[in-house]
Symmetry: C2
Subunit: 200 residues, 2 copies
């Protein structure tokens, strides 16, 4: 029954990965520990050797979700050196992003849930939001001031709101128009940004 420490650590990472997806899909309250552990290939009994509580897992899974969102943005930016910001915006405001809650932005999927959670989860979200803002600031060609810029905050707000609203309506045409309207608005906001061809 017992596995090696190496394997135990791998199992723990799998639980966090799986939880980061299933929480985004069902909400923090929409899935139980039994189903989470089963999806990770374990039983519920193993949970409390790995995590202090469901809240603890929620905080770690949130952090993980922001990490994979960051990795995806970086990869897309690197693949489009001529206009990395436009590429990141297009990815965020795509119908594919709307369709894949499980792998999408945690702010859209869990932002409202996070506002109701304990301090651990909220800390993960606050850090994730600041990372988004720094990231956008750099893509906008801003010098790395310590304060996030209003422009970055407006862009993030618009994109998060648009994907949220596009998911809340069944009408696919309306959903698409939300994403397009946000894209136009955000591209307008980012116009005038220095195009250095550099990113990260």
């Amino acid at each position: 029954m017992r596995v090696s420490r190496d394997q135990a650590e791998k199992n723990r990472q799998t639980v966090i990965d799986v939880a980061s997806q299933l929480f985004r899909e069902h909400g923090f309250d929409g899935i139980g520990l039994k189903d989470l552990m089963k999806a990770a290939g374990l039983t519920q009994g193993a949970f409390y050797k790995q995590f202090a509580s469901k809240d603890d897992l929620a905080a770690q899974a949130s952090k993980r979700a922001f990490e994979s969102a960051y990795r995806l943005r970086s990869a897309v930016a690197a693949a489009n050196p001529q206009d990395p910001l436009a590429a990141v915006i297009a990815l965020f405001l795509s119908m594919e992003h709307r369709a894949t809650r499980m792998d999408g932005c945690p702010l859209v999927a869990l932002g409202a849930d996070a506002a109701r959670q304990g301090p651990e989860v909220k800390a993960s979200f606050e850090a994730g939001i600041k990372e988004y803002l720094e990231n956008f600031g750099r893509l906008l060609g801003e010098v790395g001031g310590e304060e996030p810029s209003g422009k970055a905050m407006a862009i993030l707000s618009t994109m998060v709101g648009a994907v949220l609203l596009s998911r809340a309506v069944n009408d696919e045409r309306l959903a698409k128009r939300f994403l397009q309207a946000a894209a136009e608005s955000v591209m307008g906001l980012s116009a005038g940004a220095v195009q250095t061809g550099q990113h990260q």
Copy 2:
């Protein structure tokens, strides 16, 4: 024990009102029927004479939440005939709105939850979103075309995202800056709107 039909109908309305607030506060999965009925001054047993299921109540409570949001927008617009749009925007992007989830915009509080709910709840949200867009279209001075305008969609997306993000961070200063950045961006988008002094 039995009450008059009049009183029974009043009780039903109270349940819907209370649920529209408590769902916004705790999420659809964050509060049970027992607590909802208790908050309405009844016991859980009375629930199923009034509603078909929790989903049914969720759909009706969502509709009610959009109605009271609409009433509030109308009142604020009527009280500020010189610039009703600016007044509605200022209300939406206020720290008071951020603080009162229970009485605030259902899109911010429950938009992500709604995307995971059944068709009844989603229908309430779709109708509520279309109402917001028509409302903003009129305030922008647009003639009432059948299609919501991209401008109205961008404004709604930005405001919903900004309040959502402002609630997800603990840092009050950052929260305020999100709202301010969104206000500036949205006022820029709405510039050029016809100022007729008429509303509704």
